[in-house]
């Protein structure tokens, strides 16, 4: 028995020692750089939200809100409250995601304080086809959402993309990506509104 243990130790001591040393190395590196990595994420989110709602301060009011993204999948979303310099609530921002053409699409969506009007969206990450689906990041598609009602949105193939209403004109050649964005809106707007209303954080701007 002792002989066998001795044999195992002889064979594997290098692996065990290395695992400890390398593990320690990763732990030290992680401890040193993790604050910077977290800060980078916050900075990126802040700058994206600032594009949607200018001159506002953002405060995390609800974190890890479960949202159903269709087909029984649950995603977690953080909701931020935007406050203007005079202390009034000017809107809400939240993370939203759904399946795109190639990969998950992650958006940051902004709505006004009454949850009546969409203030726009930014793409946090997407992997849509270059030249087609990746045009969901461009202004010509995104601008259709700014000022649109925060209700059910419909996607059409033909229509006036300059007219701001609940009709969103799809990107030609990228119907799947366009549908994905509209679906994300339809999924999240309803559920986030219910959540905010349930928590009593809506409408009166408090």
């Amino acid at each position: 028995m002792l002989k066998m243990i001795g044999h195992y130790i002889k064979e594997s001591w290098l692996l065990v020692v290395s695992a400890f040393v390398f593990g320690l190395l990763i732990a030290v590196t992680n401890a040193a750089w993790q604050p910077k990595i977290i800060q980078n994420k916050i900075t990126k989110l802040d700058s994206l939200m600032n594009v949607l709602i200018a001159d506002a301060k953002f405060e995390l009011i609800l974190s890890d809100v479960p949202v159903e993204t269709g087909r029984g999948k649950i995603a977690k979303s953080n909701i931020y409250k935007a406050t203007a310099s005079d202390g009034n609530c000017v809107g809400f921002c939240f993370g939203a995601e759904g399946s795109g053409f190639a990969d998950k699409i992650e958006l940051v969506v902004a709505v006004d304080a009454e949850f009546k009007t969409i203030m726009g969206y930014s793409v946090l990450s997407s992997n849509e086809t270059p030249g087609f689906g990746d045009r969901i990041t461009q202004d010509y598609f995104r601008n259709q959402f700014i000022g649109a009602p925060a209700a059910i949105l419909n996607l059409t193939k033909k229509g006036d993309d300059k007219k701001i209403d609940d009709e969103i004109v799809a990107i030609s050649g990228a119907t799947v990506s366009s549908t994905a964005v509209v679906d994300i809106f339809n999924n999240y707007l309803k559920q986030i509104r219910e959540k905010l209303a349930g928590e009593g954080k809506l409408a009166d701007g408090k």
Binding site: L14, I26, T29, W33, Q34, G131
Partner: protein, 202 residues
């Protein structure tokens, strides 16, 4: 070559041309095809691979006399995974944009055959000095080819290099070059060209 006493220049130039990981050995095809949409991600990937290759070759070379045959691959993977994690954390902390562009391809360096190939073929049989030179040679060979591919694709897909427009007015960008098909065609043509050149020489 490694069995005879290798000279420094011999080891170094092997990675650059004679045994270039991409052009001659066809190793590491996954990052070669995936991250060469532009020069900048290609360069970042290349530098990350140089870092990992260098560190893993040093570690493997230092412990080569202690390695047991049946645990050797496990040890290589352990060392490689550690340095890849460090490289990934570094990019996330100091190059967040590049980290987002490269996505999963940085962690995937762990399974890049170039690194395990060099650990097995060179570092586990040679001294520290030769292993370091080998890592630098192979790493630079990999990075240069990645940048050439990235350069060609970025130029044809967007008309820009390093986000600076260089093509003439009225240039029609070929967005296919940014997609996987562009990677396969460009790599195929380069490999054909290299084969033609070496065939002529011999």
């Amino acid at each position: 070559m490694e069995n005879k006493a290798p000279t420094v220049s011999n080891v170094f130039t092997a990675g650059l041309w004679r045994e270039n990981p991409i052009l001659r050995l066809l190793l590491g095809m996954c990052p070669t095809l995936a991250v060469t949409t532009a020069v900048k991600p290609a360069l970042t990937m290349g530098l990350s691979v140089i870092f990992v290759l260098l560190c893993s070759n040093i570690v493997v070379s230092l412990m080569r006399k202690l390695l047991k045959p049946h645990l050797r691959i496990l040890m290589f993977t352990l060392a490689i995974a550690t340095f890849v994690t460090i490289a990934d954390l570094f990019l996330k902390a100091f190059q967040p944009e590049m980290s987002a562009v490269l996505g999963p391809y940085v962690p995937l360096i762990i399974v890049n055959c170039i690194i395990i190939c060099r650990a097995e073929a060179c570092a586990s049989k040679n001294g520290l000095f030769v292993s370091v030179i080998d890592a630098i040679g192979m790493g630079i060979g990999f990075t240069v080819v990645l940048c050439i591919l990235g350069g060609i694709r970025e130029l044809l897909a967007t008309g820009m290099i390093f986000d600076i427009p260089v093509m003439w007015k009225g240039f029609m960008p070929l967005s296919a070059m940014r997609m996987p098909v562009g990677a396969f065609i460009t790599l195929g043509l380069i490999l054909g060209l290299v084969n033609m050149l070496t065939a002529k020489k011999s």
